[in-house]
């Protein structure tokens, strides 16, 4: 992608977030898409590019009445939307489409119109992971953390401080699911889920959706919204089996996606005003800060505990409250993107003053995939 050549001109979440039993998964996609189109004054018939995950792109295109010349069904979990944004930018650069729509919708809590979860018992994960008594992501995504703690010396209190700081951000956001303040003791006394992880270190499970509309920087001038330019992008995948990561204390996919995006953006970490790091569990911002290069190996726990990422701190992270307190439908990456867009537009509930560059970093599966999108409001 050519830096600053493509802009996000439409962005919106579903009208309601949280518990939305009256809408099925595809209805949540459509509600978000229609809100994003209205945000920038377009109709579905103006769209000629469709990217989505969780539904097939043909399903979304037909449902919304779109005749696309470009589609992308990349499905690598919750960061799929970061990859869609990256691919849409390349498609617009190449002239494959002019107006790209990226949609997400998920009835994570109410399970209306959702597919069944689980893979084949003949898959490698079905043979070599499923028989060991797994209870989904809380018992798997967290598997490397004791190793990380042994190698770096990170304490349980530092890990707990991630949830405390993000609750502070959530308290500033009227749409957050949880807003009441919590302490490190509250986190460490909450119900044990999968040692060393307790309830308040695990994400929410909610219903919702979001959508983005991208066009070239030239067309962006015609829209009523403040353009948010794509400065740098990156993506990678590692393994669908968490037990087969190269090193369970760091994500190769994070390092590849992040370094690719920073190189394309041509910026240093000191240039960054705002960061989103997909937080399905409390260790994700810790891995993310290290693997993206904001801090050194083993430093992220102390960095967060010292309030560097908290309201008023020098590096605001997860300013919507994150998956731990704002919302998490299952594929949270779209909500991280939405918050970065709001920060770049200057419309976030917890707005970072004068923020010009936002790094939005997603994970897919359980360290299976990663996508990084760096945005700016500076043409």
């Amino acid at each position: 992608m050519e830096s600053r050549s493509v802009a996000i001109v439409g962005a919106a979440e579903t009208t309601e977030l949280g518990r939305v039993p009256g809408l099925s998964k595809i209805q949540l996609h459509a509600d978000a898409a229609l809100n994003a189109l209205e945000d920038c004054g377009l109709k579905p018939s103006d769209v000629d590019g469709v990217a989505t995950a969780g539904e097939a792109p043909a399903g979304i295109a037909h449902y919304l009445g779109i005749t696309p010349t470009w589609v992308d069904g990349t499905a690598v979990g919750g960061c799929s939307f970061m990859l869609h944004v990256r691919h849409a930018a390349a498609a617009i650069n190449a002239g494959l489409c002019e107006v790209a729509l990226v949609t997400h919708g998920e009835s994570g809590r109410s399970r209306v119109g959702m597919d069944r979860f689980g893979g084949s018992p003949a898959s490698l994960a079905g043979q070599y992971e499923a028989p060991y008594g797994l209870s989904g992501p809380p018992s798997m995504f967290t598997l490397g953390v004791l190793r990380y703690m042994k190698e770096t010396g990170m304490t349980h209190e530092q890990l707990a401080s991630v949830s405390v700081v993000q609750r502070e951000w959530a308290a500033l956001n009227p749409r957050s699911t949880f807003k009441d303040p919590i302490t490190v003791d509250d986190v460490l006394n909450s119900r044990m889920i999968a040692y060393p992880f307790r309830l308040l270190q695990c994400c929410l499970v909610t219903d919702g959706g979001g959508a983005l509309i991208l066009v070239s920087k030239e067309r962006a001038r015609d829209f009523p919204t403040k353009p948010v330019y794509l400065l740098g992008t990156g993506e990678s995948v590692e393994t669908p089996m968490i037990s087969q990561m190269e090193d369970m204390t760091t994500s190769r996919a994070f390092r590849v996606a992040g370094s690719t995006a920073f190189a394309e953006a041509g910026i240093t970490h000191d240039d960054v005003d705002h960061v989103m790091i997909y937080d399905a569990f409390a260790h994700l911002p810790i891995y993310g800060l290290e693997d993206l290069g904001f801090v050194g190996r083993g430093e992220a726990g102390a960095f967060i505990e010292a309030r560097n990422t908290a309201p008023g701190g020098p590096l605001p992270v997860n300013t919507n409250g994150g998956g731990l307190s704002y919302m998490h439908s299952g594929m949270y990456g779209m909500y991280a993107l939405q918050e970065s867009v709001r920060q770049m537009r200057g419309t976030a509930p917890a707005q970072v003053p004068d923020a010009k560059i936002s790094v939005c970093h997603g994970v897919g599966g359980m360290f299976m995939a990663s996508g990084t999108i760096i945005m700016t409001n500076q043409e």
């Binding site: 079905g126 043979q127 070599y128 028989p131 953390v145 190793r147 037990s243």
Partner: protein
């Protein structure tokens, strides 16, 4: 004798993993090694080629069954079929290099008993007449 109490998912072997499950039934932990002199990677899970160098020359061999506890969680919400008590889901690093997911048996399922890097050895648990799961227990225990 199969464990009649086991109600969890049962692996279905594929052509490239059949040797592993045949070995498990006999009480052997089977891995693969790349046949190229300048590669020599140990491969798990089984493939018909070496992901390190792309060579199709791979041979199956019986591993030592020894390793160390690399990391784990203690699952306090066991899924149906796994009993009411919290149990560890563990990652063991084999002496030959690869890591695999497993359970640690013959050991208290507590942070005090489950010490990272402690030596462990394989022990097979039959769950059907055809499938035995490789699990690990503290070595020399």
């Amino acid at each position: 004798m199969a464990d009649d109490d086991y109600k969890g998912p049962v692996p279905v072997p594929t052509p490239e993993t059949q040797d592993f499950w045949d070995g498990a039934k006999r009480g052997e932990l089977r891995l693969q090694r790349c046949g190229e002199d300048d590669c020599d990677d140990v491969i798990f899970p089984a493939r018909s080629f070496c992901p390190g160098c792309g060579s199709r020359s791979v041979t199956n061999f019986t591993a030592s069954g020894k390793g160390k506890l690399y990391s784990y969680v203690i699952n306090h919400r066991p899924p149906p079929g796994f009993g009411p008590e919290p149990h560890a889901i563990a990652i063991v690093e084999l002496d030959e290099g690869p890591r695999m997911m497993t359970n640690i048996i013959d050991c208290e399922q507590t942070p005090e008993a489950l010490v990272l890097d402690m030596p462990v050895e394989v022990a097979f648990t039959p769950i059907t007449d055809e499938i035995s799961l490789p699990k690990f227990r503290p070595a020399g225990g």
